[in-house]
């Protein structure tokens, strides 16, 4: 990898379960092709996929932006949606606002945000109710 910063953005559409996961799959392929370690690629891919599923389940639309530098892999997820009224509560395993339909897809068990935290070195969440949510997830390359 060169010292140059690599940036790529992916549009994600809410409630589009057919394509949910495409952005994360593409992010994973991109990182693999850069020659990053498979353990790191897997951590980023899992965090990205959890975030993408959250976006598809809860928001109207959003963007995932992958930034790769020699030291870090960062994914920013910005959505337009209902926002998270209580982030502390949302970080607790098992807390969910998912509908039964979402849970039939195998998601919405209140594991997403805790699992993102588990797979990343830095996680920052900011949210405005009725506006949207921003996640910044970062994994160190070392």
């Amino acid at each position: 990898m060169t010292d140059a910063e690599f940036v790529r953005a992916y549009d994600v559409v809410g409630a589009d379960f057919t394509n949910a996961g495409r952005a994360s799959t593409s992010i994973k392929e991109t990182l693999k092709n850069m020659g990053l370690a498979s353990t790191l690629v897997r951590r980023v891919a899992i965090a990205a996929y959890e975030a993408e599923m959250n976006l598809v389940m809860h928001a109207r639309r959003g963007t995932m932006t992958l930034t790769v530098t020699p030291g870090d892999v960062t994914i920013d997820v910005q959505d337009e949606g209902p926002g998270i009224p209580d982030i502390t509560l949302a970080m607790q395993e098992g807390y969910t606002t998912a509908t039964p339909e979402m849970q039939e897809m195998g998601f919405g068990a209140g594991m997403g945000l805790p699992n993102i935290k588990r797979n990343t070195d830095v996680l920052e969440i900011s949210s405005e109710v009725q506006r949207g949510t921003h996640l910044m997830m970062r994994v160190h390359v070392s």
Binding site: F17, T18, A20, G21, S24, T25, K28, A37, S38, T39, R42, A45, I46, Y49, E50, M53, M105, G106, F107, G108, A109, G110, M111, G112, N115, R118
Partner: protein
């Protein structure tokens, strides 16, 4: 909702020797008398099994090279397995596989099998083979 068993640490890229292979996809297929939906290589190594219908749990508990046994048959199962570097998916209870699932599996290079047995029995048949405990602890060879 989820059960998990593995015989050895999954392989890690980088230094060190790879984990010993305790089973292959061919062994899994034979033990379950499963149909091959799509599998380009039955010699692919398997390092453990995770049985779940909740993909959130799979993302937490599965390790690279595991086989996912599930009763859920939708595209998110394939997405989840591919993201988590799993070796294959076994659909229990003779699930009908939608064409979109098969198409995505081929695209993702993810082998698929179908077993007529229940999720419980499917996982149970694999347990002695991959736990390294259940069968061996009683002096019986792995299935």
């Amino acid at each position: 909702m989820i059960s998990q068993t593995h015989a050895s640490p999954a392989p890690v890229t980088g230094a060190g020797s790879p984990a010993p292979v305790v089973a292959t996809l061919g062994d899994i297929r034979a033990a379950l008398e499963a149909d091959i939906i799509w599998c380009p290589d039955l010699t692919t190594p398997v390092y453990g099994v995770v049985a779940a219908d909740l993909m959130s749990d799979v993302l937490v508990d599965a390790r690279p090279g595991f086989v996912l046994v599930t009763g859920l048959a939708n595209v998110q199962v394939v997405r989840t397995a591919a993201i988590a570097d799993l070796a294959a998916v076994v659909f229990a209870r003779g699930k009908v596989i939608p064409p979109a699932v098969l198409e995505l599996a081929r695209e993702s290079h993810l082998p698929l099998f179908r077993c007529q047995r229940s999720l419980f029995e499917t996982a149970g048949r694999l347990y002695p083979m991959l736990s390294g405990r259940a069968g061996n602890a009683e002096g019986r060879p792995p299935a």
